[in-house]
Amino acid sequence: MLDLRLYMIQRISALIMVPLVIGHLALMIYAIQGGLTAGEILSRTQGSWFWFAFYGLFVLAVSVHGAIGFRVICHEWLGLRQGLGLLTWSFAGGLAALGLYAVVAVT
């Protein structure tokens, strides 16, 4: 690992996501029964503070977790040494922006 702080954030964000992933999969199993439509999704999520918080947290955690993992891969497999900070921040920012836009779109 490149940095102890990134290492700890990686692990903490992972632990935060364990219940979120399980919840997401449970919801998917429930939701796909009898087919899936935009209307069905939206009727559940639109205007819901709970789903906003749930998926908002999920997006933030995965953006951080994924960006750090991607950084490590770029360093160890591509030999990247310059611009790692920029890479990590822009990856996390891009993922978070796309994700939060989707969360707002459904809630």
Binding site: L15, V18, A38, V59, Y101, V106
Partner: protein, 108 residues
């Protein structure tokens, strides 16, 4: 044993990479809910098709492998377990998790 540990590391890393590359596409599709809900419905109708079911199976598998590989790493780092126990525990949980979830998803 060393070979298996390397496979565990590689699976964990590759599953993470594939998942993180899948996410932007996933977020884009969901954002269609507000921008073009007809297109979203078109996408969702696709989820009935076998190829999509197979892709979903792949994603659930990647997620299970990544999650339990990660828990295995954290058990290694923070608990007083021995190596074999941890690898076997992670492997068995990952397989059963993936199978159970897939069964429920009716993708099989």
């Amino acid at each position: 044993m060393r070979q298996r540990l390397w496979i565990a590391y590689l699976l964990h890393r590759l599953s993470g990479l594939l998942l993180v590359l899948f996410l932007p596409f996933h977020f884009y599709v969901l954002s269609l809910a507000v921008r073009d809900s007809e297109r979203l419905d078109t996408f969702l109708a696709l989820t009935g098709q076998p190829l999509v079911k197979f892709a979903e199976f792949g994603l659930v598998f990647l997620l299970a492998v990544h999650l339990f590989g990660g828990l295995r790493i954290m058990a290694l780092e923070f608990l007083a377990w021995n190596e074999t126990q941890k690898t076997l525990a992670a492997a068995s949980i990952a397989i059963s998790f993936a199978v159970a979830t897939l069964f429920l998803l009716r993708a099989i």
